[in-house]
């Protein structure tokens, strides 16, 4: 009989082994899934995980998709360390896209080097403002930020839909729900000619370094960790929980807004009803898979970006629905939560009778 036994202290090794176990279990379960659908498991898995990276285009697309995941997850991790559960990065991404898009449209046909930075900054401010709502509700009314930030995601989706169907619809767009294409001064410069990868990819390591400095070197990060681990000790030391709530939510929102701004000024080039394939949600998985540490998160973001690519590849090559991406992401989270039990517990084999405690 298998039994879980509490470890005397949390295992540090398991903290790092658990994500690897989860990934291995996901690959195995994915193989079973493909077999059940009638595909040979190994070639199907190769289609999913390896084929997307076969050429330069694949690699650039991979980095393009990993960028928003890494930026958002690094910022969210600060909040998660401090017990601030921002589940609203998707909405904050959209709010950032709206603010950036609005700015880009207002500066339509204005040229100058300052246009793009202004547009990106508007995205940061828009995302942070959207996140300020759950921050205010939590601080002022003790409303749970998990619920409020999550609910605001749907509000942001509808707000964007209304704008692109209504006031901001392109006059030359044949009634399609989309804005005008932004002009060149509002678009991200490309990094590799002929590919969609833009200079925004450099923001990912930059945000990771900033998050690392805050978390590991700054007194603010120390306060976040104290409040997250032991709120009573934070209260004893006089660390204001409200400042941590406001900062982590708005930093998360601001970075999600930046990611949204870079999506519409990068690969999309205009505002459309759907500006994100769920980056704000997937980033939550990336944050936990990366152990809430910036370096881990960069790696996790690359893996999760691969599931988007793999979904596309599997749809084309095998004819399975695109939802296979969500299935793999869900399995990673599911197995990660299961494997994390091993950090605090160990598995013991015991005889069914005569067992002594």
């Amino acid at each position: 009989m298998l039994r879980l036994e509490l470890r005397p202290q949390a295992s540090r090794t398991m903290t790092f082994v658990a994500p690897l176990l989860a990934i291995a279990a996901t690959v195995a379960a994915g193989g079973v899934l493909f077999a059940a659908l009638g595909f040979a498991p190994l070639p199907a898995l190769a289609t999913f995980f390896l084929s997307p990276l076969g050429d330069l285009y694949g690699v650039t697309e991979w980095l393009l998709k990993a960028t928003p995941l890494a930026i958002i997850a690094c910022a969210l991790a600060l909040g998660f360390r401090g017990n601030v559960w921002n589940i609203g990065a998707e909405g904050q991404l959209i709010a950032g896209a709206i603010a950036a898009g609005g700015t880009a449209l207002a500066l339509y046909e204005v040229s100058g080097l300052w246009v793009l930075p202004t547009v990106l900054l508007a995205g940061v401010v828009g995302g942070a403002a959207w996140a300020a709502i759950p921050a205010l509700l939590r601080i002022r009314f003790h409303a749970n930020e998990i619920l409020t930030s999550l609910m605001l995601n749907y509000v942001a989706v509808l707000l964007l839909a209304w704008l692109v169907h209504g006031p901001w619809r392109s006059p030359e767009g044949y009634n399609f729900p989309e804005t005008r294409m932004f002009t060149d001064s509002a678009l991200m410069p490309l990094l590799v000619e002929g590919m969609r990868l833009h200079v925004g990819v450099l923001f990912a390591p930059l945000v990771a370094v900033v998050a690392w400095v805050i978390l590991s070197r700054s007194f603010l990060g120390f306060q976040i960790k104290v409040i997250g681990m032991t709120p009573a000790a934070g209260s004893y030391a006089g660390f204001g929980p409200n400042r941590v709530i406001a900062f982590t939510l708005m930093f998360g929102g601001g970075m999600a807004g930046l990611a949204g701004a870079m999506e519409i000024t990068g690969p999309i080039g205009q505002l459309v009803p759907t500006v994100s394939p769920g980056y704000g949600y997937t980033a939550i998985i990336a944050a936990f898979l990366g152990r809430l540490h910036p370096i881990g998160i960069l790696l996790a973001a690359l893996l999760l970006a691969l599931t988007y690519m793999g979904g596309d590849a599997a749809q084309i090559a095998l004819g399975v629905p695109l939802a296979v991406t969500q299935v793999f992401q869900g399995m990673i989270l599911f197995f990660l939560l299961a494997a994390d039990v091993l950090i605090r517990y160990r598995v013991r084999l015991s005889l069914p009778h005569g067992a002594r405690r």
């Binding site: 005397p8 202290q9 400095v213 070197r217 700054s218 007194f219 603010l220 120390f222 960790k225 104290v226 681990m229 032991t230 009573a232 000790a233 209260s235 004893y236 030391a237 006089g238 204001g240 002594r356 405690r357």
Partner: protein, 516 residues
Amino acid sequence: MSVPVPPPRLALKGITKRYPGCLANDGIDLAVMPGECHALLGENGAGKSTLVKIVYGVLQADEGEILWEGEPVRIDNPAAARKLGIGMVFQHFSLFESMTVTENVALGTGDPSPLPELGRRVAEVSARYGLALDPERRVADLSVGERQRVEIVRCLLQDPKLLIMDEPTSVLTPQEAEALFETLRRLIAEGRSILYISHKLAEIRVLCEAATVLRGGRLAGRCDPRRETAASLARLMIGADLAPPVREEGTAETGAPRLVVDRLSLAPLVPFATPLADISFTVRAGEIFGIAGVAGNGQAELLGTLSGETLVAVPEAIRIDGEAVGQMGPRRRRERGMGFVPEERLGRGAVPDMSLADNALLSAHKAGGMLKRGLIRFSRARSFAEKVIDTFHVAATGPGAAARSLSGGNLQKFIVGREILQNPRLLIVAQPTWGVDAGAAAAIHRDLIALAEGGTAVLVVSQDLDELFAICDRIAVMSHGRLSPAQPARATSVEQIGMLMGGVFHLDGESRNAEA
């Protein structure tokens, strides 16, 4: 004697219990006779709690044998223990605040009889053993002493042959404790056995006729406490002689007022919290001021307002060196020279999973100059922690050791040392030696006295009257959210303080006995 000697009611043979990295009980033998009050003595961490938890079926021994009235038994869980006739009154009560005494008894015993019938039996048992208790009252309205009576009555209703009491007087006033001893003597007269856990030597000497002493998980000795002195018992318990702290006659009366609390009142913040009513006192430079009282009489609330975790409406109600600080948080009060040692040392005074260096940062970041433009100077935090460890003889592997890896006494030495090394002008300490071994307690007392002699104003809030009498210049008592006038420690007796702990504030010496 002509009659054959009966077997012991309870006999333990070679009980051993291991935890990862620690041998909690190492081959312990113990025998409790019928009609005997048997003391289990030992310091915190000596293995007393582990041993009684094994007897009560909460834990299982790794090795050894339990004999109940001469028969080997297995006690798999507390229900099995109760079935044998073993009852236990825990140090921490498990009562539902919003329910009545009878309802709590019904829930605790699983007694299916109708509530009025059960209430009658509660009244009957409490009358028979002198445990004044109203079965219809809500537990939230009861004092700590009354709550303990609920727990005792709950045990007695099951007619136990052996009653285990874990540090029962730690929550009682001296008068309440005396009443409890009377009850226990009646139980012994009926032939019941009592296993009495304590580290208070005086009460064991008046109550128990046999004692088993544990030290570091091992059997340190057996004795008849009536024939021992407190000093000889202490030597058995600690394994060494301890010099009691010496408090010289201070200049307390003349020192400048450092902390002034002036008509402080506070409405309850959460249900069942004690409101504070009109509290006034002054702590002067060079003085150790003690606040006594049974837990739950508003000390936690008062400490919250003093530390700055709870802000008070009238800023002038709390003044440090004449400055109104009632609206200032903990960090601003620290900047004004206040140090604070909270009661809950692991989880408030220190973050369990952080290193000692990080825990130095927690409260000493400003005084220790550990910050520069918002970034942490880790080397300063480390060297500060190292200095605390060296100066206050903290047994730890170094500044990198996690706070939770320290024993209670060593962590307390670290926290007290961390506050003292910041050179506070005012130090507030809650329960300085609660759950701390005697050696560490003596060291902490010496440090507090030395600090006061250096001119710091020290406020000690404690439930331990012996401690307060040993180190304080003046003592005031909290009861029901009020604070008595302060008494000079040398001119006050334990009995007088005990009266105040019961809430009798404004009586002079003559009318005391009549009133009681």
